[in-house]
């Protein structure tokens, strides 16, 4: 019935997740790290939608809806924090943000 099976979607989502992990681990720009986190959230969303489709149920899609809402909230606060850090230390490099107090 389906030309593309559940496993293909899961593997694709997993690869996307890994790319996100790699971005978080190897980049030093706080904004790019943040974007990699968004990519990881998206990969998880993809697995949820795929499961929803192949298990004939809508609950997975509702989960994705909530994850998106949380992601939006997280971005708003996270970017505000990055702007705050930049105001104090003039950098977005996470290696240079190493003082607990200034």
């Amino acid at each position: 019935m389906n030309a593309v099976g559940l496993n293909s979607y899961l593997f694709l989502a997993f690869v996307l997740f890994l790319v996100g992990v790699m971005g978080v681990l190897t980049r030093r720009n706080a904004l790019i790290i943040f974007m990699s986190v968004e990519l990881m959230l998206n990969a998880v969303n993809l697995t949820l939608v795929a499961f929803a489709r192949f298990l004939h149920s809508l609950d997975g899609q509702i989960f994705v809806f909530f994850v998106m809402t949380v992601a939006a909230a997280e971005v708003a606060v996270g970017l505000a924090i990055i702007i705050g850090i930049y105001r104090r230390s003039e950098t977005v490099n996470v290696d240079e943000i190493n003082l607990m107090k200034w």
């Binding site: 030309a3 996307l16 978080v24 190897t26 969303n45 939608v49 929803a52 489709r53 609950d59 809402t69």
Partner: protein, 169 residues
């Protein structure tokens, strides 16, 4: 046939854009490639009969979140910062090695494991015909309290963002 071609085209776009996203030096390019990746994922949602989520994905992620990212990148002129001092220079290599190991581990796991789970009772035709209505109905019945909780979370995020970003209240 068409479905297979579409899947592989979208998958290749998504993975390629994601790789370019983490490898570009310039943060603006990273953001642009992430937008492309997110749109490809939205295309996959359409293939999975989740049209509502596909639209929301483009509206929320590409239309709002990534514009916010670009706004901050431009505001802070953080497009290509000097990489500066590398306090943990070995971390890059370790990060790369560990992700490759994880890839093989889960890959091997997926080869052996066969997903088997009880199927829910909704037919694909019904799902495809009125996706938005059904998502809405479920959202306001079974998941009503979660929905309310999420709205409180959003309120908290708004207040938090304003407090953090404002110079003086």
């Amino acid at each position: 046939m068409l479905e297979t071609v579409a899947f592989y085209a979208l998958a290749a776009t998504a993975v390629g854009a994601a790789l370019l996203m983490i490898s570009r030096r310039n943060a603006v390019y990273s953001a642009v490639f992430l937008v492309i990746c997110l749109c490809a994922v939205a295309g996959l949602y359409v293939m999975l009969n989740a049209q509502f989520l596909a639209a929301v994905q483009v509206i929320v992620y590409a239309g709002a979140i990534m514009v916010l990212f670009l706004f901050v990148i431009m505001l802070l002129r953080a497009d290509s910062p000097a990489e500066g001092l590398e306090t943990l220079s070995f971390q890059r290599i370790f990060g790369f090695v560990f992700t490759v190991i994880l890839l093989f581990q889960v890959g091997a796991f997926m080869k052996t494991a066969a997903p088997g789970a009880p199927a829910g009772g909704m037919s694909q035709e019904a799902l495809a015909a009125s996706n938005t209505e059904m998502v809405g109905e479920l959202l306001f019945t079974r998941y009503l309290y979660t929905f309310e909780l999420v709205s409180i979370l959003l309120l908290g995020a708004i207040v938090g963002a304003v407090v953090l970003a404002k110079r003086k209240l």
